[in-house]
Amino acid sequence: MRYARALVMALLAIGGAAGAGCKDKEPEKAAPQTAETKTSAAPASDTIVIGHVGSMTGNEATFGQSSDNGMKLAVEEQNKKNGIKGKKIVLKTYDDQGKPEEAAVAATRLVTQDKVLTFLGEVSSSRSIAMGPVADSNKIPMISNSSTNPKVTKDGDKTRPFVFRVCFIDPFQGTVMAKFAAENKKWKKVAILRDVGNDYSVGLANFFTETFKKLGGEVVDDVSYKAGDQDFKAQLTKLKSKNAEAFYVPGYYTDVALIARQAKELGIKVPLMGGDGWDSEKLYEISKGALDGSFFSNHYSPEDTSPQVKDFIAKYKATYNAVPDAHAVLGYDAANVAFHAMEQAKELTGPAIRDEVEKTKDFQGVSGKITLNKDHNADKPAVVIGIEKNAPKYAATISP
């Protein structure tokens, strides 16, 4: 009895020590608050700290990892060019594990403890929406690399003064896929499978429906799943009986890959369509070819022959030995937009940098020319990527 209790105590102590004393690995995890009570001192004056909140682990782990890789490249290059105003840039990354509440905590920590001048992220709209208020209330600019939901830069009807993004938004992205389905593919009947717990997915499904109906198409059914579900067969069986020519599944890659596999198991042969949440190398790894013949809208195609893209892919390959996905490209662009604004700013304070970010016009990024409109969004063309032989293949470009 007594020794059992002692053993439990010992185990807990060891577990606690292992948790708290874990070696500092990249990406840095936010240490538990008990581990350090003193706030870190203000950064030395010869460095500039910028932050990144991303999903380094969790259901969308490749989103955070890719974005971080792109940002790290941008930081390295800028530091080689003598940094910003002679100061070295330090990138601090926190993992939000794919949870909106963690994203808000991480953003707060970056602003209050690490004294960042700008922070970048997230890919997921739900998490960017959670981070927006932190940027506004602390007057530190936030630049999202690939959150596409319109609500990210909005506070009700007002535009959030300190929140920006370097990508297009879902009213356009939904339109792109609807146009592609109705005009390029001549599909008349589409069924929708949406992730109800995800701002991105719900927004995209709604915008798609709107445009597709306008173009004379019919949405034959609209069913839902929840991120992290294991079993999608009930919904898929239902959709199968509706004779749709394609399914629109605007979700994230882990769920989509499983949905595709289960659709194949049920003998469903129609193509799936989706958005930039599909863009991950894991999509192909998990789906094992079940997505062949499907399409998704994206921010860039690796087959683009513009010098910027070719250049970036070469650099990225040399460093990470992989082809960059759209989130890496936009991570790189978001960091560079921030650096450009810092260079232009009269003084290195949040509001001064914010004013310069807002003025971003015709900035040549890898993903195209970036001009921020009055809603702090970038108007850019989208590409449609088809999946052939379990690999992405450029299919079309659709302009706003």
Partner: protein
């Protein structure tokens, strides 16, 4: 008609899993009068144990039935040991205390497993340990073969799951009602202190009950992971709660009740998502529970034991 039958197949394949997990809840409750809320997380550990063993054997390079058997048995053994450990260190010290204390401890153990598995890795590898919140993918233990009778898609995984699950249920039924150990179990369930006075080793009975229940959860996990390959540390959350509902629904403490409850729950979920509203899929479990409990507070198969004074 095809659609209806396809839903039937899907619902049965989900229902058997709920039933297997529900059996563990029901057994532990029957013997200890304790709702083991960590049971769903034992199921999660079973999936990971299977994954580590499968990686060790190289199942993804060359799957074979022998390896699948090793993964299956290995996961069951690991989880049985885990169940015994949980009982020994978390529940036994509190057995004489108020029942609420044990219940809160069970919730604590559940969180310990869920969040312990999300800690930063201590042992590095292709799948580190603890695995962290990123989903991992289970290799296919044997080649998938699809059949298509009457346009209904059914795979050898579904068939194997069903056969294994039903086999386990009958085995359990046999153990509880036809063996000496089962008699001891029922005696402890009736009154632990009197059973002790009659020469039954109460501790041993309880330990074996935990081992059996946890082993069944691991078996369920491997059957699921073979065909639905994504696993993560929060995997046991929803199935755990639903299996608990299935157990209460069928009459907690009753083996047939757990089986029937699991199957009904799986099928009703499937038909609700298929014919009504897919967003109500998870809600239906609890709606059913409430309706049944209003009508039969002891569950479908539960028996009210009258206190004789």
């Amino acid at each position: 008609m095809t659609e209806f039958l396809q839903h039937l197949v899907n619902g049965l394949s989900v229902g058997t899993i709920y039933a297997l997990i529900a059996l563990g809840y029901t057994m532990v409750y029957g013997v200890l009068k304790l709702i083991n809320f960590a049971h769903g997380d034992v199921y999660m550990v079973g999936a990971f144990a299977g994954l580590y063993i499968a990686r060790g054997l190289g199942v993804d390079q060359e799957p074979s039935l022998a390896k699948a058997g090793v993964v299956f048995v290995g996961a069951i053994v690991i989880c049985a040991a885990l169940g015994v450990a949980i009982e020994r260190f978390a529940y036994r010290p509190l057995r004489q205390r108020a029942r609420l204390t044990a219940l809160i401890t069970a919730i604590g153990v559940s969180f310990l497993l869920e969040y312990g598995f999300q800690l930063p890795p201590v042992i590095d590898g292709e799948v580190p340990f603890p695995p962290g919140p990123t989903p991992r993918f289970f290799p296919e233990p044997f080649a998938r073969v699809d059949f298509e009778p009457l346009g209904v898609h059914i795979s050898n995984y579904d068939i194997v799951s069903l056969i294994v699950a039903v086999g386990f249920m009958f085995a359990l039924q046999y153990i509880v009602y036809r063996t000496k150990f089962g008699t001891a179990m029922r005696a402890v369930s009736f009154d632990a202190s009197v059973a002790g006075l009659m020469g039954i080793n109460v501790n041993r009975v309880i330990v074996w009950t935990f081992a059996l229940g946890s082993g069944l959860a691991a078996a369920a996990a491997i059957l699921v992971a073979g065909s639905r390959p994504s696993i993560n540390p929060l995997l046991g959350l929803l199935p755990g709660i639903k299996a608990f509902v299935a157990a209460v629904f069928g009459g907690i403490g009753n083996v047939q009740g757990a089986m029937v409850g699991g199957l009904i729950l799986g099928l009703s979920e499937e038909y609700v998502a298929g014919y009504l509203l897919s967003s109500y899929r998870d809600g239906i479990a609890f709606a059913l529970l409430i309706i049944v409990l209003l009508w039969r507070p002891e569950g479908l198969f539960g028996r009210v034991r009258a206190e004789k004074v």
